[in-house]
Amino acid sequence: MDLLTYPFMLRALAGALIIGLAAPALGIYLVQRRLSLIGDGIGHVALTGVGVGLLTHRSPVLTAVVVSVIGAVAVELVRERGRTSGDLALALLFYGGIAGGVVLVGLSDDAGNASLMQYLFGSLITTSPQDIAVIAGLGSAVLAAMLVFRPALFALCNDEEYARVSGLPVRTLNLLLAVTTAVTVTIAMRTVGLLLVSALMVVPVAAAQQLTRGFRSTMAVAMLIGVCAAGAGVVLSGEIDTAPGATTVLLALAAFLLTTAASALRHRRRRATPATHVEPPDVVLNA
C-alpha cells in the first residue's frame, strides 16, 4: 500500500474511480438498448482523434473528444435513419477510425508503438494533474446527466416509440446518449484504454443484472461493481506490476462470474424446493 503515497498513484486512483462510476451509469442504457458494442466502436473512432492531436501538436484527449463526438453523432444519425445498411455503415466507420488513427499516429513526431499502446490499453501512471481535472469535470457531467435524466432515458431505451408519443425530445435524448458515450470513451482512454473501455461500460451491468430485479437497483449495483473493480484494479496493478486497465477489466469479469454463479445457485435452490412437495399420482399402473 506504500504505492498510494505517490502523487501519480493517487491521481491514477482518482481517475479510475470516476470512470468506474460513470462508465456503468452510461453503459446500462446501452445494454438496455442492445448497443453493448457501441462503446468499442466509438473507441476505434477516438483513435483517429488521438492521431489528429499528435499530428497537430494539440492535446490528444481534446481532439479525441471532438472526433469521437462527431463519430458518435454520425452513428446515431445512421441508426435513426436506416435499418438495413446501419450495421454495415457502423463497420465502415469503425474500421476507418482505427485505420485512420494508426496512420495518423505513425505520421506524427510521436510515432512508435509506445504511444499507440498508451492509448489503446491505457496509461494511468502518466496521467497529469490537468488530465485528472478534465476526467473529473467530464466524468461528473456524464454521471449527473445519467442520474438526472434516468426516468426519461429509461423510457427511451425501453420503448422509443412510447417515448415519442409521450412527447419526450427523443432525438435530443438520443444525441445526449451519443455524446456522453463519446465523452466517456475518451476520458476512459487514459484509464483502461480505447480497446477495453467498452468492458467497463458493459461488464459491471452484466454482473449486476444477475442479482437484481429492477432497473434502478441494477444501475446502483453496476456502479458499485464498476468503482470497486476500477479502484482495486489500480491498486492491484501497482502491487503486482500489471497493466491497470486490463487488471480492472479482469476484476469486473471475475465479479460477473461470481454473480452468475450466485444467481444460478439461487435459482437451483428455488427450483429444488417445490420438487420435494410433489404428491404421488392417484393412479399407479402396474407393469
Binding site: 445494454v31 438496455q32 442492445r34 426516468p151 425501453n158 416509440e161 412527447g167
Partner: protein
C-alpha cells in the same frame, strides 16, 4: 364541441410506400371506436399515423383541435403498443415501467413525487397487478405484460387511450381485468380508439366500429349485437353475409379472399 381526433383525406406510409390512401375519421369526446381489418389492411398504420409515428403524405390530422404538427399536450394521450418494447436487456420492475407513463405529465426535469407514485399504484390497481409492482416485467405472462402497458398509459391520466390490439393472445383473466379497466375509463368520460382482431369481451363497450380495407375506411357503423348462432361461443362466422346484414358491420374483419358485403 371539437373532436378528439379529426382525420381528413389522409394518406400515409413508410419509405415512399403508401399504406393508407384516403382516410377520414372523426372521434368525438367520449367515443369508444374499434378499428377492425385484416392483417396488412393498414389499421395499425392508421393509429400510428394519428400518433405521429408514421409520416403523413397528404391530408390533415387534428388532435384535440390542434394540427398534429403543432400538438404538444401529449399527456392527454395514453398509447398502448402491441407488446413490450424490444429493449429489455436490463431487468425492470412493473412499477418502473408504469412510472414511465408519468413522464408526459411531469416533464423531463422534475423528479417523481408523491402524486406520481400514487398514480402508478392506482393504475396498477385498475388492471389488477398492484401485488406485482416490484416484480421484473420479464417474469410476467404475456397477458400480464399487456396489462402493465395499459397501466403505464392509465398512469398519465389521459383523456384519450389509443390501443394497438390489446387483447391479442391474452389469457382470459387478463381479458377480464382489461375490459374492466377500459369500462371504468370510458365511464369517466374517457375517449378510446382501439384496434381489435375481434370484438370479443369488449363488445358491450364499443360504440362504433370502422373497418379498414385496402388503405381506406371500408365501413363505419354500430357493431351488431350477436344473435342466434352468432352468439354461440366458438362461432367463426365464415358463411357469406345475408342481405339483411348489409346495413350493419360484420363481426369479423374481412380477410384475404373473403368479401365484406
Amino acid at each position: 364541441m371539437s373532436s378528439v381526433i379529426e382525420v381528413r383525406h389522409m394518406a400515409a406510409g413508410y419509405d415512399g410506400r403508401e399504406i393508407l390512401r384516403d382516410v377520414s375519421l372523426r372521434v368525438a369526446p367520449g367515443d369508444v371506436v374499434a378499428v377492425l381489418g385484416a392483417n396488412g389492411s393498414g389499421k395499425s398504420t392508421l393509429i400510428r399515423t394519428i400518433l405521429g409515428l408514421v409520416p403523413v403524405h397528404r391530408g390533415e390530422i387534428e388532435l384535440f383541435g390542434t394540427p398534429q404538427q403543432r400538438f404538444r399536450q401529449w399527456e392527454r394521450i395514453g398509447y398502448v403498443p402491441q407488446r413490450l418494447g424490444a429493449g429489455s436487456g436490463v431487468p425492470a420492475t412493473v412499477g418502473e415501467v408504469v412510472a414511465s407513463g408519468r413522464l408526459a405529465r411531469r416533464g423531463l426535469f422534475r423528479l417523481p413525487g408523491a402524486a406520481d407514485r400514487t398514480a402508478v399504484r392506482e393504475a396498477l390497481d385498475a388492471v389488477g397487478l398492484l401485488d406485482r409492482i416490484g416484480d421484473p416485467v420479464g417474469t410476467l405472462s404475456g397477458g400480464q405484460q399487456q396489462r402493465t402497458l395499459i397501466a403505464r398509459a392509465l398512469a398519465g391520466k389521459p383523456d384519450l387511450l389509443v390501443l394497438d390490439e390489446p387483447t391479442a393472445g391474452v389469457d382470459a383473466a387478463s381479458q377480464e381485468a382489461f375490459a374492466g379497466a377500459l369500462t371504468r375509463f370510458a365511464g369517466n368520460g374517457g375517449t378510446i380508439l382501439l384496434i381489435l382482431h375481434e370484438l370479443g369481451p369488449l363488445r358491450p363497450l364499443i360504440g362504433r366500429a370502422v373497418v379498414v380495407h385496402d388503405g381506406r375506411i371500408a365501413h363505419e357503423g354500430v357493431p351488431p349485437e350477436p344473435a342466434g348462432h352468432h352468439a354461440e361461443p366458438g362461432h367463426d362466422h365464415v358463411h357469406p353475409h345475408a342481405d339483411t346484414e348489409q346495413a350493419g358491420i360484420c363481426e369479423w374483419a374481412p380477410t384475404e379472399g373473403m368479401k365484406a358485403y
